[in-house]
């Protein structure tokens, strides 16, 4: 436990870590999945695996929006930017995600009008400022960002804007968790549940995980102590043979979620029959499409989209890493062809991607620990 003293509250961290060591059964290998990319980032940043017993393995889940977006959707979005009348807008996370012919940033460098925005409302503002141009917002994200897109579309309709549309790639976390539970090569024993997604959807939607699959889920905050306390709560459930949803992050996550956010999403979006996830394949009813009532704001109806399907570069093993079958550094491209500066796969782009987090923190730490020249 040599790193404990670096934390803000070392005594509490040490106590949680000791409690975890007491709770684990020797000889039992625990596989716990942190669903959310924010947790993956925090776990690597704080080297939390160093204060855990060797028989607890943290498996990194699908909760990184740019990581699970298949390359074909990136190319579909970028195809819109070929139209000189279109201004394509996207969050910063999206700008460096590689498409088959380069990232949004590279398209911008080649002359396409691609702009980074911090809010979908910024894209709406652009549409107001440029009535002669077609402004498209490339929407990505789980339930953390889907309500903001829904409210933006409601405002667009209220303002009567005719030059604004959304290329909707919002996904929902529950079907992804179900797909993981149903996947034969996944043997996860319990889940560290998402923090911010849960502020929107609340805790009830997770109950099937406990009821139907007999596995515990604990929604967790992002501080090192939060994650360790969540692991304590999970281990206590496993020890007692219980499986229920518990809320470690109750100071931010209401059990019932955010009702206005859920209402706005229900008014604007409907479930797609199926959607392709990178690494997980097609998952039924796992993504959001724009409802008929908002059809005029739907880029997929408004423009001719090629519907591109691209297989990942052969050597890249993003899918295996996404499913937790491989650790990031076990991918053949990791740290060689694929780095945060020159990402081949999306997991290397976002700070929430397992590969970028591993590259930035775990690798640096192990490099520092090794003698120079080794």
């Amino acid at each position: 436990m040599k790193f404990v003293d670096e934390f803000r509250n070392p005594t509490l961290i040490r106590q949680a870590s000791e409690e975890i060591h007491r709770l684990v059964e020797p000889g039992h290998h625990y596989r716990l999945m942190e669903v959310c990319g924010g947790h993956t980032h925090a776990i690597y940043r704080f080297a939390l695996e160093d204060v855990l017993p060797d028989n607890i393995e943290l498996v990194h889940g699908p909760g990184c929006p740019v990581c699970v977006l298949p390359m074909g959707r990136v190319d579909d979005g970028l195809s819109l930017a070929r139209d000189p009348n279109v201004i394509l807008t996207a969050f910063g996370d999206m700008m460096r995600v590689p498409g088959r012919n380069g990232s949004p940033l590279e398209h911008k460098a080649r002359g396409a009008d691609v702009r980074m925005v911090y809010s979908p409302l910024d894209a709406l503002k652009l549409a107001e400022q440029h009535p002669d141009r077609d402004v498209v917002f490339f929407a990505i994200g789980f339930e953390t960002t889907a309500p903001s897109t829904a409210l933006t579309l409601q405002r667009a309709r209220m303002l009567g804007l005719e030059n604004f549309s959304v290329f909707c790639n919002h996904v929902t976390i529950i079907p992804a968790i179900r797909a993981i539970l149903d996947s034969p090569d996944m043997r996860v024993e319990a889940f560290i549940g998402p923090g911010h997604v849960s502020t929107v959807i609340g805790c009830r939607p997770y109950e099937f995980i406990c009821r139907d699959y007999g596995k515990p889920l604990v929604t967790s905050g992002f501080e090192p102590l939060d994650v360790l306390q969540s692991i304590v709560m999970i281990l206590r459930q496993l020890r007692d043979g219980r499986a229920c949803v518990e809320n470690q992050y109750a100071r931010v996550v209401p059990w019932e979620g955010n009702r206005p956010a859920l209402r706005a999403m229900a008014e604007v979006f409907e479930l797609r029959p199926f959607f392709e996830w990178r690494g997980l394949g097609f998952i039924s009813q796992s993504a959001l499409a724009i409802r008929e009532e908002f059809a005029e704001f739907d880029a997929e109806r408004r423009f001719r989209m090629p519907g591109v399907r691209v297989t990942d570069p052969k050597a890249a093993q993003c899918g295996e890493v996404l499913k937790g079958v491989l650790k990031p550094h076990q991918c053949k491209l990791f740290g060689r062809e694929c780095t945060p500066e020159h990402p081949v796969g999306a997991l290397m782009v976002s700070s929430e991607g397992a590969c970028a987090a591993y590259y930035n923190f775990a690798l640096r730490k192990s490099a520092a620990a090794e003698p120079v020249g080794v």
């Binding site: 803000r8 809010s119 910024d122 709406l124 994200g141 309500p147 903001s148 409210l151 502020t199 209401p254």
Partner: protein, 101 residues
């Protein structure tokens, strides 16, 4: 994108009930409060909220706000959070008088 930025409500915008001025580390910006204003109790000046992509998403206490700011700093994302906040373009920055108020 998934960064949550803690901010304190310092003003409601007259004539634009969907907006409030929030303050984060001395920087003031307008954000959308539609996701919080319909649910009781009513939002008040001095309340703390977590902000995602221009929208206040959840109410938090002052201790959680401090904790979130510290967490962003520990994750090395505090600068990014301020860039995001200062990058919101959907409303003009508050007028000078508001900033002083």
């Amino acid at each position: 994108m998934c960064l949550a930025i803690p901010g304190k409500i310092v003003e409601f915008v007259v004539g634009q009930p969907h907006l409030a001025v929030i303050e984060v580390s001395g920087v003031r910006r307008r954000v959308n409060i539609d996701l919080l204003r319909d649910e009781p109790p009513a939002l008040a000046i001095g309340d703390w909220v977590l902000i995602h992509v221009g929208f206040a998403m959840s109410r938090i206490g002052v201790a959680e706000a401090e904790e979130q700011m510290r967490l962003l700093a520990m994750l090395g994302e505090d600068r990014l959070a301020m860039e995001e906040l200062e990058g919101y373009r959907f409303t003009e920055p508050p007028a000078r008088a508001e900033e002083i108020a």
